[in-house]
Subunit: 475 residues, 2 copies
């Protein structure tokens, strides 16, 4: 319950109100209960009620009308303007998406670019200064750390800190069950290499993270895309069907805030899914890199929490929450520990020690929760604002996800608008968005883009979406 | 010629004398020319001549007899006590050596261990303090470096510094032709993954670095061992025969100071080898990790220097010269650049930025040559001393390489002495040596061990070899 304790009271009130608005309890244009009544209802102070309404106003859910009160703003079209459940072909095949995927991060590094594409955390939301102070201290103090190869498995102190933090998501492991990696990508790649041989089939959510499509391509794996709901994640009936037909060797899912959908699989589904997979003897690679960035005050248990057989390989990192530049991630590989560790050694012997110790000390000092909560609240506001801007400026028929965590949106454009063409035209205006085609192994999602709300200020965002909207009308 | 300029004059004199002793110009027991004559002959000061003789005495080549002069000490049996050229089966096969290889580094990390096994540079010879100062400065100054993913290809400043340094080994490349990796192991693994598919055959020196055997095993490659001379490296006639029979897809060699042999391929052979391989259309992965640790004052050109087609992939790192804990290496992949870079991205996106900048600043400050020269002189003495101790204490018939660089020895024991048994018995006395079996894909070299002279002081080394000798007599 560590995560929820850190959540401010006003945030819980605001979240509950937001849900009520989303469900239509308070339709657009309606006057909301007075602050006094809210304070009474939630048993909070008036100040807290004011904070909650302030947050809802900042996020664009409500507006204050002078001398009248607070009113619900039109939320575009509610669930109707979210994309529907995906309907991939459910036929495993080789990956054919190419170089395009690799240009995205490079574009985002251009100093003149307005990044609405790459999923990089906002640098102002990262505790860079405090981390750097700790890091510099470690470098100067533990001089001899640099003179040795670190343990292949990773620094023991960091593993201890991670084991402690994992309890928040219901995962109880000994520090010795954890392997430190150079970021989450390495954790995922090592896991996939361990579990698969060429010709095997890996099942993924549709759409899902392009990096993994590329890895699958490189390893000669087939990818089976499963129908995925933009709110609840992978469709379990479809998964069961595929399991019944023995179509799947391994699953690679992001139950918490799939990139690009932002979907979050409900707890009951997680439990059911793990049981289904374990009955079928199919291991699950769980990509939890966005797991700590959920908007809800309660952190759901990871799928790994329901793992009884050591068949769930939990992968994550600090790249989205603390700093991508550290390149520190980890994998809890269950019964595949020895094989994953061996591959880690053969890949690069061990991860550098000093950044590991720096992150461990930061975690130990205890401000991780606060830092991540603050960033998450910001991402939620920004993502919501970006969503509204897109619905406002993009051509009619555009649908946008309403993510439950993270900082990206999945935008479904009218069918005649090509996402790659939009990307290309936007880039000429120094704006980058991520074309949807790379989130599918065979270049589906042609009229989709992924957008990131993490890196640009509100004014720049407003102007840029305006420009994008005009481009989208023309493309 | 950067390297040779840093070489002290006395060192050149000593080296020349050492060679004369090795060639029998001055046999054991013979009185050496007087200091005055040496000074005249080499056109150096008397002080320099004294330094040279001092060095030879410290290294155990000569002894001073009071009021009489300097005399040549018995060098065991000269070339006769070096191992002969290896005679592997020259039949490609799968790799079967297992877990043993992975325990070596772990053993060396035990605080109570006397490490005569793992090839880790001596921590007192690394510029750890000065590096740490620079590193801490970078961390505090470039706070925002940590907030981004570094360029996939690696930090531009570091690539510039590496490109400059590569000129010393005759390699002229643009910084944009270099990819930074997490150490040399990653550079080698990425190269091998890029060039090979399962079932391909990679040719290696025999014996050669166990890590690569493991990678080959994991990738399902066959390994073809080539006869290798402990002084001159791989036998080119054997290589040509294998090429003529189309047995080889890729070569992976360490022309400079093969681990474990310490062999150094002569310049003419390097040139000839590259031409042979390029005629046959077989790419070469050149592992140059020990390249800067040659005892000779002149650094030979890397094989890459003779590469006209972009078919030599040069791999190296700073793990043996500056600090293994940084995990910074690089590959110059020639015409395979795009494919290697893609694999780097899919492996772990990018290498952490700050240690890259720290190493770049260290290189720029210009003390790299001096630091490495000093360490190399030390390694040469220590390796020579270890060699003599082994010849003195180990059973008759033991042969030891006389390496030309690096800090490891390859010890051939009498046939009835099992290297693994020796390793096991030594470990019970808290001494670690590396069993020879892991340097061959199918567990040959059963009566061999690799020893490292880098990490223990002279007294401890003397006692430990004494203990090892007693064990070897009993095993």
């Amino acid at each position: 319950m560590g995560a929820s304790e850190q959540h401010f009271l006003y945030q819980q009130v605001a979240e509950d109100m937001r849900r009520a608005i989303g469900m239509g309890t308070y339709p657009a244009g309606e006057r909301l209960p007075s602050l006094r009544r809210i304070a009474d209802h939630y048993e909070v102070s008036l100040a807290t009620a004011i904070q909650a309404y302030q947050w809802l106003e900042d996020s664009g859910f409500i507006e204050a009308r002078p001398k009248s009160g607070y009113y619900v703003l039109a939320q575009g079209c509610g669930e109707a303007c979210e994309p529907e459940i995906s309907t991939p072909r459910m036929k495993a095949g080789e990956v054919t998406v190419g170089q395009l995927a690799l240009d995205i991060l490079a574009e985002a590094r251009r100093p003149d670019i307005i990044n609405l594409g790459a999923a990089i955390p906002g640098p102002d939301l990262l505790p860079l200064k405090s981390l750097s102070r700790i890091y510099a201290g470690v470098v100067r103090r533990d001089v001899r750390l640099l003179g040795y190869y670190e343990e292949q498995q990773g620094n023991a102190f960091l593993r201890q800190q991670i084991a402690r933090r994992l309890r928040v998501s219901g995962v109880r492991v000994h520090p010795d069950e954890i392997i430190i990696t150079n970021g989450c990508m390495e954790a995922l790649t090592l896991s996939l290499r361990t579990l698969c041989k060429a010709g095997d089939t890996v099942a993924v959510e549709s759409p899902s993270y392009y990096g993994m499509m590329q890895v699958a391509e490189q390893l000669g794996l087939n990818v089976l895309e499963l129908p995925t709901h933009p709110r609840d994640g992978v469709d379990l009936d479809a998964l069961q069907q595929a399991l019944d037909k023995n179509l799947i060797n391994v699953c690679l899912f992001m139950p918490s805030f799939n990139n690009p959908l932002g979907s979050c699989m409900p707890e009951t589904n997680r439990k059911k899914m793990v049981a289904m997979l374990q009955r079928a003897g199919v291991p699950l690679i769980e990509d939890d890199i966005y797991g700590d960035l959920g908007y809800d005050s309660v952190r759901l248990p990871a799928a790994k929490a329901f793992d009884k057989k050591g068949e769930v390989l939990l992968c994550s990192s600090f790249s989205k929450t603390l700093a991508p530049g550290y390149r520190i991630g980890y994998v809890v590989p269950g019964r595949y520990f020895d094989e994953v560790l061996r591959r880690k050694f053969l890949g690069n012997i061990a991860t550098a020690a000093t950044p590991q110790v720096a992150i461990a000390e930061f975690l130990q000092k205890g401000s991780y929760e606060r830092v991540v909560r603050k960033a998450t609240r910001y991402y939620q506001q920004r993502t919501e604002r970006l969503r509204q801007l897109v619905l406002q400026h993009f051509p009619e028929g555009t649908r946008v996800t309403q993510p439950q965590g993270g900082f990206v949106l999945w935008v479904e454009l009218p069918e005649h608008i090509n996402g790659v063409a939009l990307h290309d035209a936007a880039l000429r205006k120094n704006i980058t968005v991520t074309p949807g085609v790379i989130f599918s192994p065979r270049g589906d999602y042609r009229h989709h883009i992924r957008m990131s709300a993490s890196m640009v200020g509100l004014d720049v965002m407003t102007d840029a979406v305006n420009v994008l909207g005009r481009i989208a009308h023309k493309v």
